[in-house]
């Protein structure tokens, strides 16, 4: 499956339909995966707020610059991912309109753009906060661009499980920026996003499995089948819901977070169970879980943000 011939796709990327000089600044902005960046900003902001609750003393202005550096670093890793995956992006329906496959930005320019922004964001974070945070950001970019994009994505069905660590690190980086260290609460935020990633992406992959199969990316439904994927989604959903709620008595968040994590966690597990019982090819149930997973993560982090800001205000 992974030996699929992608020469045709590569040829498309090598000879874009639109000349190089047609690229607009907005095309380069698209390389940064703005939607992923907004999630990174949100989760990193929560990490920062709780780092202040824990006694962080970084001046506010430097925290704002640090948040900017973290989001640009995340965007840079997205540009490197698009550079590396341009061949398969051109074939997949979901990604065919990205700047490189549609011929708006040449591949070498995307790589240079990603590398320059990676270096600048890490340097800026080191200057604005500390070397621990800068080192963690550099590791996050490396993990996403090299470990996930170049290695795991095309070689194992566990790609998004391990690769999910890159998407889970921003709140830890942000916490480190404010306090200079990474206590267990920061890693609890990491674990929530880490455990959330598999059910979130596999729910989407159940619907997009033909897309992934066409380009030879070994996503769980293509390799293990729909039934095994649904079982794993359910298992991860239970572990996620239990972990998120159980972290509260140990010092993550307050009563609002506990209520939100219990109520939304129960609904997450319920939808995962419905998917488990759904007949094969039932895309609607899978997309329902996918949609709710976004709401779930937003709900948890919004509750944490509200409680953190409240504690800072009193």
């Amino acid at each position: 499956m992974t030996t699929i011939d992608l020469n045709a796709a590569n040829a498309d990327v090598a000879a874009p339909a639109i000349p190089t000089d047609a690229a607009r600044p907005l095309d380069y902005f698209d390389l940064l995966k703005p939607r992923v960046m907004s999630l990174v900003i949100f989760t990193a902001l929560v990490g920062m707020v709780w780092a202040y609750v824990a006694g962080g003393t970084l001046p506010f202005g430097l925290a704002v610059v640090s948040l900017l550096a973290i989001s640009v670093g995340a965007g840079a890793s997205g540009a490197l991912n698009m550079w590396w995956d341009a061949d398969i992006d051109a074939v997949m329906e979901r990604t065919a309109k990205r700047p490189i496959p549609r011929g708006a930005v040449p591949k070498p320019e995307a790589a240079a753009f990603g590398l320059v922004l990676s270096a600048l964001s890490v340097a800026l974070l080191a200057l604005a906060s500390n070397y621990v945070a800068a080192g963690l950001l550099a590791f996050t970019i490396f993990f996403y661009a090299v470990i996930y994009s170049m290695w795991l994505k095309r070689s194992t069905a566990q790609n998004i499980v391990i690769g999910g660590a890159a998407g889970a690190l921003p709140p830890v980086v942000a916490w480190a920026a404010v306090t200079g260290d990474t206590p267990w609460q920061a890693w609890a935020l990491f674990m929530i996003i880490f455990l959330w990633t598999p059910p979130h992406f596999w729910a989407l992959a159940l619907r997009r499995s033909t897309d992934y199969e066409r380009v030879g990316v070994p996503m769980m439904p293509n390799v293990e089948g729909d039934s095994a994927t649904k079982r794993q989604i359910f298992a991860y959903s239970v572990i996620l819901a239990v972990f998120a709620a159980a972290a509260q008595p140990f010092g993550l968040g307050g009563p609002l977070y506990l209520v939100v994590s219990v109520v939304m966690g129960a609904q997450f597990v319920r939808l995962a169970y419905r998917l488990l019982r759904a007949p094969e090819g039932d895309a609607k149930t899978a997309m329902r879980l996918f949609g709710f997973s976004i709401l779930y993560l937003f709900g948890l982090f919004a509750a944490l943000l509200a409680e953190g800001l409240f504690l800072l205000a009193i």
């Binding site: 000349p19 000089d21 047609a22 607009r24 001046p59 430097l62 200057l127």
Partner: protein, 47 residues
């Protein structure tokens, strides 16, 4: 070389150049501000 470019291509190149210039200027200003803030924090913190 510029003669081979269409008017639209020239316009987009200009937009890109302005975006790069803006990005560099913003980065310089940020580094300057961060330096001032760090100095301020050190002074007020006695460090």
């Amino acid at each position: 070389m510029a003669d081979l470019m269409t008017e639209d291509e020239q316009k987009r190149r200009k937009q890109r150049n302005l975006a790069i210039a803006g990005g560099i200027a913003a980065f310089i200003v940020l580094v300057y501000l961060v330096t001032l803030m760090r100095i301020g924090a050190s002074v007020s913190g006695g460090g």
